[in-house]
Symmetry: C2
Subunit: 347 residues, 2 copies
DNA sequence: ATCTAGCACTCATGAACGAAGAGTGCCAGA
DNA sequence: TCTGGCACTCTTCGTTCATGAGTGCTAGAT
C-alpha cells in the first residue's frame, strides 16, 4: 500500500465491494452508478476501476465481466473502509439467552454459543476448547472402576470437566484414591496445569517422596490424568456453506468438509488467533492452508479469569458481510468470557 | 410380492442392480447383455425388464434411458438375491486395531469405531450413545465446586461416563457428599438407571427418609444426576456423501446436512433399529423422514452384558454395495460389543 | 486538466437446431 | 418361446447465433 488511495478511489472500492457482497456477482461500472447514487459517469468509474485493478485490489474474471475484489481488496476494505455495525439489541439478547440458558458445563456453553453464532451469521461456526496446559487446576477426583482401571475426573477453574480412563498395574483401594486426590487437590490448587505437571516432577524427585509409595502413585496418576490429549474443536452449521454460490463446485466443497472432519487444521487456525488482540480476520490466501482456499475466517478469543483460554469464530466465503459478522463474533466471545468468569467466581 | 419371480427374472434383476450399483447409470438391455455374460438376446432382456417394471421393481427415468431399480427393487435384492461377502481378514484386523487402540472410554470407543467404519465403507457413519435409561448403574460421585454448585459424575456398567452440573440451594460439605454417594452406590449397584430412578422415588416416600435430611438430599441429587438429557449421535465422514453423483443437487444435499446437524432424526432412526435382530437395512422411502429421501441406512445394534445398548451404522445413497457394506457394519457392531463386554467384565 | 459520451471490441450466456446414440416396444418369423 | 429387425422416442452434445453486459480508448465538452 505505497501511495494512499484518493477519496474517490476509496468510495468506489467500497461501493464495489459492498455491491459484490450483496449480489455475489462481478460488478460492472454501469451497474454500479445505477445502483449506488454516484455522481459520476460509468466511464470515470471505469478509469478508477482500472487503477484499482492495477493496484491489485480488484480483478476481472474475464474481459467482459465486471470486477471482483481480490483478497488484498478485502483486506484494504476491512482495515480502512469498513464501518462495523452496532449490534442489534435483539441479537445481543438472543446470544445472551442461549448462553445463560441452563446450568451449563463449559463444553456445553461453548457448543451452545457456537450454535447460536453460526445460525445468526449463517456461516459455519467454530470453537476450540481451552488447551489444558494453559488452564488453572481446580479439582481432581479418582474413581475406582476395577482392580486395574481408574477413572480420573478433573476440573479446571473455568469449569472444563475432563474424564480420563487410566489403566494401572497394582490395585489401589478407594481409600488410597481418596488420600491421593486430597493430597493433589491441596498441592495443586490454583496452579496452571502446566505448572502443576512440572511441580509434580519436582516433588517426585524429592527425598521423602521416593520412599512414600502412595505419593509416588499420586504423582504417576496425576501425570497421566493431566496429560493434554490435544484439544478439540466444535463445528456447527456446515450446511450453511452449501447455500453459498461460491461453493457450488463439489471437489472444493469436499476438501473443505474433509478439513472440517480432521479438525487439527482448524485447531491450528484458532490457536494462532490467540496471539493478537480483539477480532482477527483472515481473508482467502491469508489462511495458509490450501484446503480451505477462498474462505475467510473471523475469530475472537474468549478468556477466563486468568487470561485467554481459547478462540471461537466463523468461517465462510471471502464475500461476507463483515460489518455485521465481526461484531457478532466479538460479542459472542465476550459473552462466553463473561459466563465463564461468573461460574468460576462463584467459588 | 404375490407371484414369486422366475429364475430368469431374478438373474436379470440382480444383474441390473449390480450393474447400476457399479456405474450409477441407468442400465439398458444391450449394455447389460454386453457387460454381463447373459445367454440371451437384448430383446428377451427387454421383455423381462418390462415385466419387472410392471411389478414395480424397476423404473425408467424416461423413455430411452434404461432402467433403474426402485426402492422395492433394492428391497427384493437385499432380501432374496444378495449374497453377502465374507469379510476380508485385513478389514477385520483394521477395525479391531482401531477399537483396541488405547484404553478408551466408551464414548471414545464408539467414536473411533464409527470413524473407522465410515472410512472403510466410504459413506457417512453414525453411532448413538446408549440411552441412559436402559443402562446399568455402576458408580456415582459428587464433587463440590462451590457453595451452590456440584458436579455429578456417574458411570454405567458399560463404561459410559456422564458429567452433570447441578445447582443447589443449600450448601453441602464434601463430607456430606461423600456419604451421599456412598449410600447411593450401595443402594443402586447393579440396577438399571430406570429402575434406580423409580426405586429412589419409592425410598423417598418411606417414613424414615422423610425425617432424614441427608437422605432427602441424596435422592434429590441422584434424581437430577441420573436424568437422561436425551441421547447423542456421533456422525463421521459426511464428506463422503459429497462425492456421490446422486448428491449433486444442492438443495437436497443441504437438507441432508441440516438433518445431520439436528441429530434427533438420526437418533430416532437408530433407536428404532434396536428392536429387531441383526443388521437392519432401510431403503429410500422406507425411511420415513422426507429430509433424507433417497438414502439408505444400514444399522446394527451393539450390546453390553445386559443386552442391547445402542446402534451404529452408515448412511449413503440407495445405490450401495450392500454385499460388502452389510458385513462391515455387522462386524463393527460386534467388535464394539466385544470391547464393551470386556471392560465391564474386568470388574 | 478532468470528466463524459460514444464507439468498437470481447466474451459469457442462453436459445435453437440437428445429428448421434442409446434405449424401447412391438411384430413377425424361427 | 425366443430372437432379429425396425420404427420411434428422447436425451445428450456440439454448433451456431444473437444478445447483452462490460471494457478500453479517443475525441470532445467543461
Amino acid at each position: 500500500m505505497a501511495e494512499p488511495l484518493s477519496d474517490r478511489c476509496r468510495t468506489i472500492l467500497e461501493a464495489i465491494i459492498e455491491e459484490h457482497i450483496a449480489t455475489a456477482q462481478p460488478v460492472g461500472s454501469k451497474a454500479l452508478v445505477g445502483r449506488c447514487g454516484l455522481n459520476l459517469s460509468s466511464a470515470s468509474v471505469r478509469n478508477v476501476m482500472a487503477e484499482l485493478e492495477e493496484l491489485g485490489l480488484l480483478q476481472s474474471p474475464h474481459t467482459s465481466a465486471g470486477r471482483v475484489p481480490t483478497d488484498k481488496g478485502y483486506r484494504y476494505y476491512v482495515e480502512r473502509l469498513l464501518r462495523v455495525d452496532r449490534l442489534n439489541r435483539k441479537t445481543e439478547e438472543q446470544i445472551e439467552a442461549q448462553c445463560r440458558h441452563r446450568s451449563l458445563q463449559m463444553a456445553e456453553l461453548l457448543r451452545q454459543a457456537n450454535r447460536t453464532l453460526s445460525s445468526l451469521v449463517n456461516y459455519t461456526g467454530l470453537v476450540m476448547l481451552p488447551r489444558l496446559q494453559s488452564t488453572v487446576f481446580r479439582h481432581i477426583e479418582f474413581v475406582r472402576l476395577g482392580p486395574h482401571q481408574i477413572l480420573a475426573v478433573f476440573i479446571t477453574q473455568s469449569g472444563l470437566v475432563q474424564n480420563k480412563l487410566i489403566q494401572i498395574e497394582e490395585d489401589l483401594s478407594a481409600r488410597d484414591l481418596e488420600q491421593i486426590s486430597n493430597y493433589l487437590n491441596q498441592t495443586m490448587a490454583g496452579m496452571s496445569i502446566q505448572a502443576a505437571r512440572t511441580n509434580i516432577l519436582v516433588e517426585m524427585a524429592k527425598e521423602k517422596a521416593l520412599y512414600d509409595q502412595l505419593l509416588q502413585r499420586a504423582f504417576q496418576l496425576s501425570q497421566t490424568a493431566l496429560n493434554d490429549d490435544g484439544g478439540d474443536v466444535f463445528i456447527e452449521g456446515t450446511s450453511h456453506l452449501l447455500e453459498q454460490p461460491e461453493f457450488l463446485d463439489m471437489p472444493r466443497m469436499k476438501r473443505l468438509f474433509q478439513t472440517f472432519e480432521q479438525k487439527h487444521t482448524l485447531l491450528n487456525l484458532l490457536d494462532q488467533g490467540l496471539q493478537g488482540q480483539g477480532v482477527r480476520v483472515l481473508i482467502g490466501s491469508e489462511i495458509e492452508h490450501q484446503e480451505i482456499a477462498g474462505c475467510s475466517l473471523i475469530t475472537a478469543a474468549y478468556s477466563g479469569r486468568n487470561g485467554k483460554l481459547g478462540a471461537l469464530g466463523i468461517i465462510g466465503p471471502n464475500r461476507m458481510p463483515y460489518a455485521s459478522v465481526i461484531p457478532m463474533v466479538e460479542f459472542t466471545a465476550s459473552m462466553v468470557s463473561r459466563m465463564l468468569n461468573r461460574t468460576s467466581a462463584e467459588e
